[in-house]
Symmetry: none
Subunit: 206 residues, 2 copies
Protein backbone atom coordinates (compact mmCIF):
# COMPACT_ATOMS: atom_id res chain seq x y z
CA UNK A 1 0.00 0.00 0.00
CA UNK A 2 2.90 2.30 0.58
CA UNK A 3 5.52 1.25 -1.90
CA UNK A 4 8.43 2.91 -3.57
CA UNK A 5 6.53 2.98 -6.86
CA UNK A 6 3.38 4.36 -5.22
CA UNK A 7 5.16 7.24 -3.55
CA UNK A 8 6.91 8.37 -6.70
CA UNK A 9 3.81 7.92 -8.81
CA UNK A 10 1.85 10.03 -6.36
CA UNK A 11 4.46 12.81 -6.52
CA UNK A 12 4.50 12.69 -10.32
CA UNK A 13 0.73 12.72 -10.51
CA UNK A 14 0.49 15.60 -8.08
CA UNK A 15 2.99 17.61 -10.09
CA UNK A 16 1.14 16.87 -13.31
CA UNK A 17 -2.18 17.87 -11.80
CA UNK A 18 -0.69 21.22 -10.79
CA UNK A 19 0.91 21.68 -14.18
CA UNK A 20 4.38 21.42 -12.71
CA UNK A 21 7.44 19.41 -13.54
CA UNK A 22 9.16 17.28 -10.93
CA UNK A 23 11.79 19.93 -10.42
CA UNK A 24 9.25 22.75 -10.24
CA UNK A 25 7.33 20.86 -7.59
CA UNK A 26 10.47 20.42 -5.53
CA UNK A 27 11.30 24.09 -5.88
CA UNK A 28 7.83 25.14 -4.82
CA UNK A 29 8.19 23.00 -1.71
CA UNK A 30 11.40 24.80 -0.85
CA UNK A 31 13.53 21.82 -1.78
CA UNK A 32 16.41 21.51 -4.15
CA UNK A 33 15.19 21.26 -7.74
CA UNK A 34 16.94 17.96 -8.29
CA UNK A 35 15.50 16.24 -5.24
CA UNK A 36 12.81 14.47 -7.26
CA UNK A 37 14.96 13.76 -10.30
CA UNK A 38 14.27 10.38 -11.77
CA UNK A 39 17.97 9.77 -11.52
CA UNK A 40 17.66 10.10 -7.72
CA UNK A 41 14.96 7.48 -7.35
CA UNK A 42 17.36 4.57 -7.48
CA UNK A 43 20.83 4.22 -6.09
CA UNK A 44 23.56 3.45 -8.64
CA UNK A 45 23.39 -0.21 -7.60
CA UNK A 46 19.69 -0.34 -8.28
CA UNK A 47 18.37 -0.12 -4.74
CA UNK A 48 15.29 2.06 -4.35
CA UNK A 49 15.62 5.53 -2.86
CA UNK A 50 12.68 7.06 -1.05
CA UNK A 51 11.82 10.70 -0.59
CA UNK A 52 11.98 11.59 3.08
CA UNK A 53 8.82 11.98 5.08
CA UNK A 54 9.76 15.58 5.71
CA UNK A 55 10.07 16.29 1.99
CA UNK A 56 6.61 14.86 1.40
CA UNK A 57 5.24 16.97 4.23
CA UNK A 58 6.77 20.07 2.64
CA UNK A 59 5.22 19.24 -0.72
CA UNK A 60 1.79 18.80 0.81
CA UNK A 61 2.09 22.05 2.74
CA UNK A 62 3.36 24.00 -0.26
CA UNK A 63 0.69 22.76 -2.63
CA UNK A 64 -2.21 22.77 -0.19
CA UNK A 65 -2.73 19.06 -0.69
CA UNK A 66 -4.35 17.03 2.04
CA UNK A 67 -3.04 13.67 3.01
CA UNK A 68 -6.25 12.12 1.77
CA UNK A 69 -5.76 13.65 -1.66
CA UNK A 70 -2.19 12.52 -1.79
CA UNK A 71 -3.16 9.03 -0.80
CA UNK A 72 -5.78 8.91 -3.52
CA UNK A 73 -3.02 9.59 -6.03
CA UNK A 74 -1.18 6.46 -5.03
CA UNK A 75 -3.47 3.92 -6.49
CA UNK A 76 -6.94 5.32 -6.66
CA UNK A 77 -8.78 3.48 -3.94
CA UNK A 78 -8.15 2.25 -0.49
CA UNK A 79 -10.09 -0.93 -0.83
CA UNK A 80 -8.52 -3.40 -3.10
CA UNK A 81 -9.07 -6.88 -4.31
CA UNK A 82 -6.10 -9.07 -3.63
CA UNK A 83 -5.18 -12.08 -5.74
CA UNK A 84 -6.37 -15.51 -4.69
CA UNK A 85 -5.54 -19.05 -5.73
CA UNK A 86 -5.99 -22.48 -4.27
CA UNK A 87 -3.33 -23.88 -2.01
CA UNK A 88 -2.71 -26.80 -4.34
CA UNK A 89 -2.28 -24.57 -7.38
CA UNK A 90 0.36 -22.54 -5.57
CA UNK A 91 2.71 -25.47 -6.00
CA UNK A 92 2.41 -25.37 -9.76
CA UNK A 93 4.58 -23.05 -11.78
CA UNK A 94 3.63 -19.64 -13.10
CA UNK A 95 1.95 -18.08 -10.09
CA UNK A 96 4.96 -16.64 -8.27
CA UNK A 97 8.17 -14.92 -9.18
CA UNK A 98 11.48 -15.77 -7.57
CA UNK A 99 10.80 -13.49 -4.63
CA UNK A 100 7.47 -15.13 -3.82
CA UNK A 101 5.39 -12.28 -5.21
CA UNK A 102 2.28 -13.24 -7.14
CA UNK A 103 2.55 -12.87 -10.92
CA UNK A 104 0.51 -13.82 -13.94
CA UNK A 105 -3.13 -13.35 -14.81
CA UNK A 106 -4.50 -16.68 -13.66
CA UNK A 107 -5.33 -15.45 -10.17
CA UNK A 108 -8.83 -15.09 -8.83
CA UNK A 109 -9.60 -12.20 -6.51
CA UNK A 110 -10.94 -11.63 -3.03
CA UNK A 111 -11.97 -8.36 -1.37
CA UNK A 112 -9.68 -7.75 1.57
CA UNK A 113 -8.66 -4.13 1.84
CA UNK A 114 -6.65 -4.04 4.99
CA UNK A 115 -3.24 -5.12 3.83
CA UNK A 116 -0.17 -2.94 4.01
CA UNK A 117 1.78 -5.04 1.55
CA UNK A 118 0.90 -4.47 -2.07
CA UNK A 119 2.21 -7.92 -2.95
CA UNK A 120 -0.05 -9.64 -0.46
CA UNK A 121 -2.17 -12.48 -1.77
CA UNK A 122 -4.64 -15.02 -0.53
CA UNK A 123 -4.57 -18.79 -0.54
CA UNK A 124 -7.58 -21.00 -0.26
CA UNK A 125 -6.97 -24.03 1.91
CA UNK A 126 -7.87 -27.39 0.40
CA UNK A 127 -8.07 -30.61 2.36
CA UNK A 128 -7.74 -31.43 6.02
CA UNK A 129 -3.99 -31.65 6.40
CA UNK A 130 -3.74 -28.36 8.29
CA UNK A 131 -6.45 -29.04 10.82
CA UNK A 132 -7.28 -27.93 13.38
CA UNK A 133 -5.96 -24.50 12.44
CA UNK A 134 -7.02 -24.23 8.82
CA UNK A 135 -9.99 -26.03 7.39
CA UNK A 136 -11.00 -26.89 3.89
CA UNK A 137 -12.18 -23.67 2.19
CA UNK A 138 -10.53 -21.29 4.64
CA UNK A 139 -8.70 -18.33 3.13
CA UNK A 140 -5.41 -17.10 4.53
CA UNK A 141 -3.96 -13.70 3.66
CA UNK A 142 -0.24 -13.91 3.07
CA UNK A 143 2.41 -11.19 2.93
CA UNK A 144 5.67 -12.04 1.19
CA UNK A 145 7.18 -8.74 2.33
CA UNK A 146 6.48 -9.02 6.05
CA UNK A 147 9.47 -9.92 8.20
CA UNK A 148 9.25 -13.31 9.84
CA UNK A 149 9.89 -14.23 13.43
CA UNK A 150 9.66 -17.30 15.59
CA UNK A 151 6.08 -18.37 16.23
CA UNK A 152 4.67 -16.82 13.07
CA UNK A 153 2.51 -18.90 10.82
CA UNK A 154 4.21 -19.04 7.45
CA UNK A 155 3.76 -20.36 3.94
CA UNK A 156 6.93 -21.94 2.55
CA UNK A 157 7.62 -22.92 -1.03
CA UNK A 158 10.47 -25.32 -1.64
CA UNK A 159 12.59 -25.37 -4.74
CA UNK A 160 10.95 -28.67 -5.58
CA UNK A 161 7.61 -26.89 -5.89
CA UNK A 162 6.08 -28.06 -2.63
CA UNK A 163 3.99 -25.50 -0.75
CA UNK A 164 3.65 -25.83 3.02
CA UNK A 165 1.81 -23.91 5.71
CA UNK A 166 3.62 -24.23 9.01
CA UNK A 167 4.58 -22.43 12.16
CA UNK A 168 8.13 -21.11 12.31
CA UNK A 169 9.81 -22.97 15.13
CA UNK A 170 13.41 -21.90 14.76
CA UNK A 171 15.44 -20.12 12.14
CA UNK A 172 19.22 -20.23 11.93
CA UNK A 173 21.67 -19.07 9.31
CA UNK A 174 21.45 -22.27 7.28
CA UNK A 175 18.27 -24.01 8.38
CA UNK A 176 14.63 -23.36 9.07
CA UNK A 177 12.66 -25.51 11.49
CA UNK A 178 8.94 -25.69 10.87
CA UNK A 179 6.30 -26.99 13.23
CA UNK A 180 3.36 -28.70 11.61
CA UNK A 181 -0.03 -27.12 12.19
CA UNK A 182 -1.51 -30.58 12.45
CA UNK A 183 0.17 -32.28 15.41
CA UNK A 184 -0.25 -35.64 13.74
CA UNK A 185 2.17 -34.62 11.03
CA UNK A 186 5.89 -34.52 11.77
CA UNK A 187 7.82 -31.28 12.03
CA UNK A 188 10.03 -30.35 9.14
CA UNK A 189 13.53 -29.01 8.85
CA UNK A 190 14.67 -27.35 5.63
CA UNK A 191 18.12 -26.25 4.54
CA UNK A 192 18.45 -22.74 3.21
CA UNK A 193 19.07 -24.03 -0.30
CA UNK A 194 15.86 -26.00 -0.36
CA UNK A 195 13.65 -22.96 0.17
CA UNK A 196 12.33 -20.87 -2.70
CA UNK A 197 10.58 -18.34 -0.45
CA UNK A 198 8.85 -17.88 2.88
CA UNK A 199 5.87 -15.59 3.46
CA UNK A 200 4.02 -14.72 6.65
CA UNK A 201 0.34 -15.44 7.18
CA UNK A 202 -1.33 -12.24 8.37
CA UNK A 203 -4.95 -13.25 8.64
CA UNK A 204 -7.04 -16.36 8.33
CA UNK A 205 -10.72 -16.51 7.53
CA UNK A 206 -12.82 -18.46 10.02
Amino acid sequence: MLSHAHIWRALDTLAERLGLSASALARRAGLDATTFNRSKREAPDGRPRWPSTESIAKVLAATGTSLDDFMALMDGSGRRAIPLIGFAQAGEGGFFDDAGFPVGGAWDEIAFPNVGDEHAYALEIAGDSMLPLYRDGDVVVVSPAAPIRRGDRVVVKTREGEVLAKELKRQTARTVELRSLNPEHPDRMLQDGEIAWIARVLWASQ
Copy 2:
Protein backbone atom coordinates in the same frame (compact mmCIF):
# COMPACT_ATOMS: atom_id res chain seq x y z
CA MET B 1 -1.74 17.77 7.03
CA LEU B 2 1.38 15.80 7.63
CA SER B 3 3.28 17.09 10.61
CA HIS B 4 6.06 15.78 12.77
CA ALA B 5 3.66 15.34 15.68
CA HIS B 6 1.10 13.57 13.49
CA ILE B 7 3.53 11.02 12.21
CA TRP B 8 4.84 10.07 15.62
CA ARG B 9 1.39 10.00 17.14
CA ALA B 10 0.22 7.68 14.38
CA LEU B 11 3.12 5.33 14.99
CA ASP B 12 2.50 5.35 18.73
CA THR B 13 -1.20 4.74 18.28
CA LEU B 14 -0.59 1.94 15.84
CA ALA B 15 1.79 0.25 18.24
CA GLU B 16 -0.68 0.63 21.08
CA ARG B 17 -3.49 -0.91 19.07
CA LEU B 18 -1.39 -3.90 18.27
CA GLY B 19 -0.36 -4.23 21.88
CA LEU B 20 3.23 -3.43 21.03
CA SER B 21 5.77 -1.02 22.44
CA ALA B 22 7.59 1.43 20.20
CA SER B 23 10.61 -0.82 20.15
CA ALA B 24 8.56 -3.96 19.50
CA LEU B 25 6.89 -2.26 16.55
CA ALA B 26 10.25 -1.31 15.11
CA ARG B 27 11.53 -4.84 15.56
CA ARG B 28 8.48 -6.32 13.93
CA ALA B 29 9.05 -4.07 10.93
CA GLY B 30 12.59 -5.37 10.63
CA LEU B 31 14.11 -2.14 11.94
CA ASP B 32 16.45 -1.51 14.81
CA ALA B 33 14.60 -1.56 18.11
CA THR B 34 15.72 1.96 18.97
CA THR B 35 14.59 3.55 15.71
CA PHE B 36 11.37 4.86 17.22
CA ASN B 37 12.83 5.80 20.60
CA ARG B 38 11.42 9.02 21.91
CA SER B 39 15.00 10.13 22.25
CA LYS B 40 15.38 9.86 18.46
CA ARG B 41 12.44 12.07 17.62
CA GLU B 42 14.29 15.29 18.18
CA ALA B 43 17.86 16.23 17.48
CA PRO B 44 19.93 17.31 20.49
CA ASP B 45 19.39 20.95 19.49
CA GLY B 46 15.63 20.49 19.45
CA ARG B 47 15.03 20.23 15.74
CA PRO B 48 12.44 17.62 14.74
CA ARG B 49 13.54 14.29 13.33
CA TRP B 50 11.25 12.36 11.03
CA PRO B 51 11.01 8.64 10.43
CA SER B 52 11.90 7.86 6.85
CA THR B 53 9.21 7.03 4.34
CA GLU B 54 10.78 3.63 3.91
CA SER B 55 10.55 2.91 7.64
CA ILE B 56 6.87 3.82 7.63
CA ALA B 57 6.30 1.59 4.62
CA LYS B 58 7.98 -1.29 6.44
CA VAL B 59 5.78 -0.77 9.48
CA LEU B 60 2.63 -0.81 7.36
CA ALA B 61 3.72 -3.95 5.54
CA ALA B 62 4.71 -5.76 8.70
CA THR B 63 1.52 -4.98 10.57
CA GLY B 64 -0.91 -5.40 7.70
CA THR B 65 -2.01 -1.79 8.03
CA SER B 66 -3.27 0.14 5.02
CA LEU B 67 -2.31 3.71 4.38
CA ASP B 68 -5.94 4.60 4.95
CA ASP B 69 -5.84 3.23 8.43
CA PHE B 70 -2.53 4.85 9.16
CA MET B 71 -3.90 8.22 8.15
CA ALA B 72 -6.93 7.72 10.27
CA LEU B 73 -4.52 7.41 13.18
CA MET B 74 -3.04 10.81 12.41
CA ASP B 75 -6.10 12.96 12.58
CA GLY B 76 -7.61 10.76 15.24
CA SER B 77 -10.85 10.29 13.34
CA GLY B 78 -10.50 6.51 13.33
CA ARG B 79 -13.12 6.32 10.66
CA ARG B 80 -12.13 2.90 9.47
CA ALA B 81 -11.40 1.33 12.79
CA ILE B 82 -13.62 -1.29 14.34
CA PRO B 83 -14.18 -1.61 18.07
CA LEU B 84 -12.02 -3.91 20.13
CA ILE B 85 -12.14 -5.26 23.66
CA GLY B 86 -10.50 -8.10 25.50
CA PHE B 87 -12.20 -11.45 25.54
CA ALA B 88 -12.61 -11.38 29.30
CA GLN B 89 -14.22 -7.95 29.29
CA ALA B 90 -16.84 -9.12 26.80
CA GLY B 91 -18.48 -11.06 29.62
CA GLU B 92 -19.05 -7.95 31.68
CA GLY B 93 -22.12 -5.82 31.14
CA GLY B 94 -22.35 -2.66 29.07
CA PHE B 95 -20.48 -3.66 25.95
CA PHE B 96 -23.28 -5.25 23.91
CA ASP B 97 -26.93 -4.60 23.26
CA ASP B 98 -29.55 -7.35 23.20
CA ALA B 99 -28.78 -8.25 19.61
CA GLY B 100 -25.06 -8.69 20.26
CA PHE B 101 -24.05 -5.41 18.62
CA PRO B 102 -21.30 -3.47 20.33
CA VAL B 103 -22.46 -0.40 22.26
CA GLY B 104 -20.97 2.07 24.67
CA GLY B 105 -17.84 4.15 24.57
CA ALA B 106 -15.52 1.88 26.50
CA TRP B 107 -14.25 0.06 23.44
CA ASP B 108 -10.75 0.32 22.12
CA GLU B 109 -10.23 0.26 18.37
CA ILE B 110 -8.32 -1.73 15.81
CA ALA B 111 -7.65 -0.94 12.18
CA PHE B 112 -9.58 -3.48 10.18
CA PRO B 113 -12.00 -1.89 7.74
CA ASN B 114 -14.54 -3.23 5.36
CA VAL B 115 -15.62 -6.55 6.75
CA GLY B 116 -19.02 -5.94 5.23
CA ASP B 117 -20.82 -5.69 8.54
CA GLU B 118 -20.92 -2.27 10.09
CA HIS B 119 -21.55 -3.81 13.49
CA ALA B 120 -18.46 -5.98 13.34
CA TYR B 121 -16.10 -5.85 16.28
CA ALA B 122 -12.86 -7.41 17.44
CA LEU B 123 -11.95 -9.47 20.47
CA GLU B 124 -8.48 -9.91 21.80
CA ILE B 125 -7.76 -13.42 22.98
CA ALA B 126 -6.33 -13.77 26.48
CA GLY B 127 -4.86 -16.94 27.81
CA ASP B 128 -4.26 -20.36 26.34
CA SER B 129 -7.66 -21.94 26.71
CA MET B 130 -8.39 -21.74 22.98
CA LEU B 131 -5.15 -23.23 21.76
CA PRO B 132 -4.11 -24.39 19.30
CA LEU B 133 -6.48 -22.25 17.24
CA TYR B 134 -6.20 -18.91 19.03
CA ARG B 135 -3.10 -17.82 20.89
CA ASP B 136 -2.73 -15.26 23.62
CA GLY B 137 -2.80 -11.82 22.01
CA ASP B 138 -4.50 -12.92 18.80
CA VAL B 139 -7.32 -10.72 17.55
CA VAL B 140 -10.47 -12.18 16.07
CA VAL B 141 -12.89 -10.14 13.99
CA VAL B 142 -16.50 -10.97 14.81
CA SER B 143 -19.68 -10.24 12.88
CA PRO B 144 -22.96 -10.37 14.81
CA ALA B 145 -24.91 -9.98 11.59
CA ALA B 146 -23.34 -12.79 9.60
CA PRO B 147 -25.44 -15.91 9.11
CA ILE B 148 -24.19 -18.93 11.00
CA ARG B 149 -23.78 -22.43 9.71
CA ARG B 150 -22.50 -25.70 11.01
CA GLY B 151 -18.73 -25.71 11.35
CA ASP B 152 -18.40 -21.96 11.79
CA ARG B 153 -16.31 -20.60 14.59
CA VAL B 154 -18.62 -18.56 16.77
CA VAL B 155 -18.62 -16.36 19.82
CA VAL B 156 -21.56 -17.12 22.11
CA LYS B 157 -22.78 -15.08 25.02
CA THR B 158 -25.06 -16.77 27.51
CA ARG B 159 -27.75 -15.02 29.49
CA GLU B 160 -25.60 -15.61 32.53
CA GLY B 161 -22.92 -13.40 31.05
CA GLU B 162 -20.47 -16.07 29.99
CA VAL B 163 -18.67 -15.52 26.69
CA LEU B 164 -17.42 -18.54 24.76
CA ALA B 165 -15.53 -19.04 21.53
CA LYS B 166 -16.48 -22.37 20.03
CA GLU B 167 -17.18 -24.18 16.82
CA LEU B 168 -20.84 -24.72 15.92
CA LYS B 169 -21.36 -28.45 15.89
CA ARG B 170 -25.11 -28.72 15.46
CA GLN B 171 -28.03 -26.37 15.66
CA THR B 172 -31.61 -27.44 16.08
CA ALA B 173 -34.77 -25.53 16.82
CA ARG B 174 -34.26 -25.62 20.57
CA THR B 175 -30.61 -26.40 21.19
CA VAL B 176 -27.14 -25.43 20.04
CA GLU B 177 -24.25 -27.86 20.27
CA LEU B 178 -20.79 -26.29 20.50
CA ARG B 179 -17.48 -28.01 20.02
CA SER B 180 -14.56 -26.71 22.07
CA LEU B 181 -11.63 -25.28 20.16
CA ASN B 182 -9.27 -26.87 22.64
CA PRO B 183 -9.89 -30.62 22.43
CA GLU B 184 -9.00 -31.00 26.09
CA HIS B 185 -12.08 -29.04 27.04
CA PRO B 186 -15.50 -30.70 26.88
CA ASP B 187 -18.11 -29.79 24.30
CA ARG B 188 -21.09 -27.75 25.36
CA MET B 189 -24.78 -27.93 24.68
CA LEU B 190 -26.98 -24.90 25.25
CA GLN B 191 -30.73 -24.52 25.20
CA ASP B 192 -32.18 -21.73 23.11
CA GLY B 193 -33.25 -19.83 26.22
CA GLU B 194 -29.75 -19.83 27.65
CA ILE B 195 -28.26 -17.92 24.76
CA ALA B 196 -28.11 -14.13 24.62
CA TRP B 197 -26.56 -14.00 21.15
CA ILE B 198 -24.28 -15.83 18.76
CA ALA B 199 -21.86 -14.08 16.37
CA ARG B 200 -19.62 -15.55 13.73
CA VAL B 201 -15.85 -15.20 13.76
CA LEU B 202 -14.80 -13.90 10.33
CA TRP B 203 -11.06 -13.45 10.64
CA ALA B 204 -8.29 -14.22 13.07
CA SER B 205 -4.93 -12.52 13.20
CA GLN B 206 -1.99 -14.87 12.87
